[in-house]
Amino acid sequence: MKPANQIIGQVLRVGIGVLTAIMVGGVTIGFAQESVSVRATLMTGGVPVDDPNAAAWSSAPPATFPMSPQVHWQNRIQEVTVKDVIVRALHDGKQVAVLVEYADPTQDPDDAAALEFMVGDKKAHFAHGQPMLQVEGGPVNIWFWKNKTAKAVDMNAKGFGTLKAQEHQDVKAKGIYSNGTWKVVFSRDLSTGHAEEDVQITPGQFISIAFAVWDGRKDGAGDLVEKGSQKAVSSWWYFRADAPPDYSGYMYAAIAAALALGFQFVLIRKLKKGQSA
């Protein structure tokens, strides 16, 4: 028969294993749904607002979002060219840049893309902030780029037919087409003086973002196939600009470990005294 000590030792080892398994299990569950958000990586020295091919973009993790033909309201469309958008984002604490990349077989003057954000604390319907019947909604802020104008328009909407360009145009955009792929960079200051109209981006906080794309191709009769509400759209997703690194977690961990160590010392001293008494 094994000595009791050895058995206790084995059992303790198993117990520690189980405890570790619980902790590890609890930690891994947390990483399951990473792709549901766009993460704007914090970088130093100006963000590449004019350059969709800048090397800095490789430090931003790409996130892919599926697109659907817009069917929520008239005029609908049943099929669209763009099936997915790949989105990256960077910020430097002052400016934010969002790179939207998608496959489009042809470059057309009417090719266009847009970002949409909720503004303020109220939820807004993803379809241009369409009024909801039981919930008081807020406006949406739309950053719109079109190939032929080669610039961005900063807009607001609160329901169909209310889309309007703002008096304060704060957004810039630059698109580059090559090898069947559009890369469009939208950029703006993280915060603006117009919190009622513009989305305010606070590092560390999640906000809602949606995407829209129009393929500017024409049909046999020379009419645009995708225009206005006939476009590719996404649902709401999350966007977050990285907060500056925060090391306080390490400090708290060190304090807790030191306390645990101290507790061990006190406990063993007590036990030893008790035994010898």
């Binding site: 000595p3 009791a4 000590n5 050895q6 058995i7 206790i8 030792g9 059992v11 303790l12 117990g15 520690i16 189980v18 405890l19 570790t20 619980i22 902790m23 609890g26 930690v27 947390g30 990473e34 549901v36 958000s37 599926p66 659907s68 033909p69 069917v71 929520h72 309201w73 008239q74 609908r76 049943q78 099929e79 099936k83 939820k123 319907h125 909801m132 019947l133 039981q134 919930v135 560390g204 590719a232 996404s234 649902s235 709401w236 999350y238 925060d246 306080s248 977690g249 390490y250 708290y252 961990a253 304090i255 807790a256 470990a257 306390l259 645990a260 160590l261 061990q264 036990l271 035994q275």
Partner: protein
Amino acid sequence: MGALGKPIILMVGMYAFLKFVLPNIPGSAPLPSSLIFLYLLLTASGIVIFETLSGESKDAFWGPIQRFLTGENIGGLQSLRYGVFILFPLLVGWQTYGSTAVSDLPPTESRTIHPAPPGEYTGLSNPVPKTPENIMQGKGFYAAYCSPCHGGNFDGKGPAARGYIPAPANFADPTTIAMLQESYLFWRIKKGGVGLPIEGAPWKSAMPRWEVELPDEWIWKIIMGEYDGAHQSPRTWE
């Protein structure tokens, strides 16, 4: 085994039961780790209370723990003892870090799939006679207006569905229209995504508000066509 062996075996057994056996019992689901932790904590408290009921059992229970901690006469276990002393503060530190570190995860949003309809949409019965012609017509309207998202096979996999979250309902699934009344469908089709109450997250739903485009009679026919096409029946009051 001693008084210490059994409790530890009990703990390990309890963990194995909660983690591997319970989720496999029909009608059950995997337990969240926080709940497993709580159950283990309760088990441990029960064991401590039980083992310290009498002086003898208390000595038998604490004795080996005390010997292990003080390191007296434990022979080969000495290195394990030091291991525990190093590992314990590290685990505490790790847990503290994990609970204070800012989460990288977006906020979780719970969404009620079938929230309660407004009062005026409960208990309505379909005014359209259930004739083969009406069902056929309903299926025609379904094909024109609903199938791009809800699918020609009533499975929620229409060509326009892929980018929408929440995904369009799968009517062939027994947990959708089969557990709802026609009255409920009438409300959902008429008012669409924007008609949902706050717990239904109306800002995310792409479902059109069909009342602005389709007469009520068509909507009732669509409902008939949906049930027939998906081989389901509306829920009735038993």
